[in-house]
């Protein structure tokens, strides 16, 4: 073994383990964060399964023949259905029957269904019974939101195994913003748009943590390089010093927000191309209203900007409590779970399906809002986006006020975040 290796290794380990910031940041926080994420995901899976099992299926029988009754009977044995007779899908939509029956999936047994099944069983295999399934596309769902739609396919598969192979097939369509989009598979659409649901939170997560690390060094560097004391004695308003530091990060935040939007817009374009190729021509995300419009992009940009600003301001304040850059970066690390948990959890969850307490927790975390906004601008839910912008702006104002108070007093020099060690000894010299 290398001479001295063990001695140096043990000394390094001793130093690292005695640094409470490292101990908490690298060991305790992950031990808390991942179980919390696990609980959130577990809840998401459970609620999706429950939803799939208890979801009401609206079935409209426009055939009336024997086979249609057999088929509907089979559905009824497995799923919770509400049956209506001789009502076209458009009328179902116009009369709001889906919402009235608390259902998100409509199954239409079209006219001619029974006759086709009879022909098929008589030996003409190329004639099949087609069932039209219309899934309501909400846009706010998480990774498990397609479960109830898949359940219909599973039950139809069971029917075919019981009667004849390939007897009944499904034609998928979507109901997007109250309009029937024929031939657009709502499950495939959810799956493809999931890349959007994953990409933006991950990008925001990386951007926020990276920006906070940079901002945290702004005051800490002044302390570490011993330039802060000099700066605080020049005849300049201390709020100007703070604003100078924060403004530089505002510019960075603005550029970062625009960069993310450009990348996001490009990604949406790529998804649209992918969707066209997988779902057939004529499917256009813009036409389907599943791409944010100009107002949506502006609101998303503003939401991103304020979130970045609040994170950067918080990093500046936190760095004032540390003695050096390393300490500042360790301190802002404590905020990371508040970025990681909503970023990862909101991929798996639709916040609207959460219990009130969990919902309140996610809304209270400022870093949830751009992710919520990214989903809301697609569905045109601008109220949620505006609420988030106002909330994060207020949070930023409070943080800035604390920062200005900190800069106005000697606390900027004497305030230290420490674990149980007296600060008095170090201050007196």
């Amino acid at each position: 073994m290398l001479k001295g290796f063990t001695i140096i290794l043990l000394k390094e380990l001793k130093e690292l383990m005695r640094d409470p910031k490292i101990l908490v940041g690298m060991i305790v926080l992950p031990l808390i964060m991942f179980p919390v994420l696990g609980l959130v995901m577990g809840y998401a899976v459970q609620s999706a399964q429950t939803e799939a099992q208890t979801a009401t299926l609206l079935v409209t029988n426009n055939d009336g023949g024997n086979w249609s009754k057999v088929f509907v009977g089979y559905l009824n044995r497995t799923l919770k259905i509400v049956l209506i007779e001789n009502v076209s899908p458009q009328v179902v939509l116009d009369q709001g029957l889906l919402a009235k029956n608390n259902s998100t999936t409509l199954v239409e047994v079209p006219s001619g269904f029974s006759q086709n099944l009879t022909v098929h069983i008589d030996g003409t295999w190329n004639v099949i019974g087609l069932v039209n399934v219309y899934g309501v596309f909400s846009g706010g769902g998480g990774i498990f939101s397609g479960m109830s739609g898949n359940t219909v396919a599973t039950v139809v598969g069971g029917f075919n195994r019981a009667v004849a192979p390939d007897l009944v097939q499904i034609s998928q369509s979507s109901i997007i913003k109250g309009q029937i989009e024929y031939g657009v598979d709502s499950i495939a659409l959810s799956g493809l748009l999931l890349s959007q649901a994953i990409a933006l939170p991950i990008t925001i997560m990386i951007m926020l943590t990276y920006a906070m690390q940079i901002a945290a060094t702004s005051v800490a560097m002044e302390k570490e390089e011993k330039t802060l004391e000099t700066l605080l004695t020049v005849p300049v308003d201390r709020f100007a010093i703070l604003m100078g530091k924060v403004s530089s990060t505002i510019i960075v935040a603005g550029v970062a927000a625009v960069t993310v939007l450009i990348g996001y817009n490009y990604m949406i374009g790529s998804i649209s191309t992918g969707l066209t190729s997988s779902l057939g021509s004529g499917v256009n995300l813009v036409a389907l209203g599943l791409v944010p419009n100009v107002l949506g992009y502006i609101l998303l940009g503003v939401s991103l900007f304020f979130t970045l600003l609040s994170a950067l301001a918080l990093a500046v304040v936190m760095s004032a409590f540390s003695e050096n850059v390393r300490g500042a970066q360790a301190l802002v690390g404590y905020v990371y779970p508040l970025i990681f948990i909503p970023s990862l959890a909101l991929v798996y969850l639709d916040v609207n399906t959460l219990p009130l307490v969990l919902k309140a927790v996610f809304y209270a975390i400022p870093y949830s809002h751009p992710i919520l906004a990214s989903k809301a601008v697609v569905t045109g839910d601008y109220a949620t986006v505006l609420f988030g912008i106002i909330y994060v702006a207020l949070f930023t104002v409070i943080i800035m006020y604390i920062a200005s108070r900190l800069f106005a007093t000697e606390k900027i020099l004497t305030a230290k975040f420490r674990f149980g060690k007296s600060k008095a000894k170090e201050n007196s010299e």
């Binding site: 004391e229 000099t230 700066l231 605080l232 020099l413 600060k423 008095a424 201050n427 010299e429």
Partner: protein, 243 residues
Amino acid sequence: MSLAVDALSLIKQFGQIRALDGVSFNIKPGEIYGLIGPNGAGKTTCLRIICTLIKPTSGSIRIFDNDVVKQPEKTRQIISYLPEESGVYQNLTGMEYLEFMAKLQRKPNTNIKVTTNEAADICGLGSRLSDRTKTYSKGMKRRLLVARALMTQPKLAVLDEPASGLDIIHAYHIREIIKRYVKEHGLTVLLSSHNMLEVEYLCDRVSLINKGKLILEGKPKVLKAEYKCENLEEVFMKVVGYA
């Protein structure tokens, strides 16, 4: 004529520790005044109060008739502070640093170029002012910082251990800068040091501080004569009872 510094019964408490315990002294305009004492005596705390960085727990302090606690902005307009452990922005050149500080400390009807040229003369770093400060030695940085503290010709320059930790050549250069420049321009200087020989060389009057208390004040020559010592170091040891 108003006093440059008028400190009365300054007390500063940090938790259970009393860093300053009723310190009173005054400095006349144009004087070089030294606060001397061992590490942890309270010198830096006193200077930080004068420079508006921290507030005294009790007592009063006036700089050219400005109340430091009540009028910190006015005080900052007439002082310049060189902390003991002071750094420069590593990615700026020496000249850029001087320009940055000159703009922040700018007085009405002053020219930034004239001010920075003045600083260049004071520090004597010549063409190295075009280099980034991260390439400077400790002595060069300190010379730059002393030049920064003096270039705006403040009414009161507060210098905390101006030549601390420097080799003989750089320490000598800095002492010469202070002595020459201050006398030429009639500035008032308050400096602290634990190097009693340095203080003896530079200062018109000195105060001896120990454990937060001001224990002796006077002209170096008078103090040495009074305590029959060859230098201030011996005076201090006698006063605190170690000799």
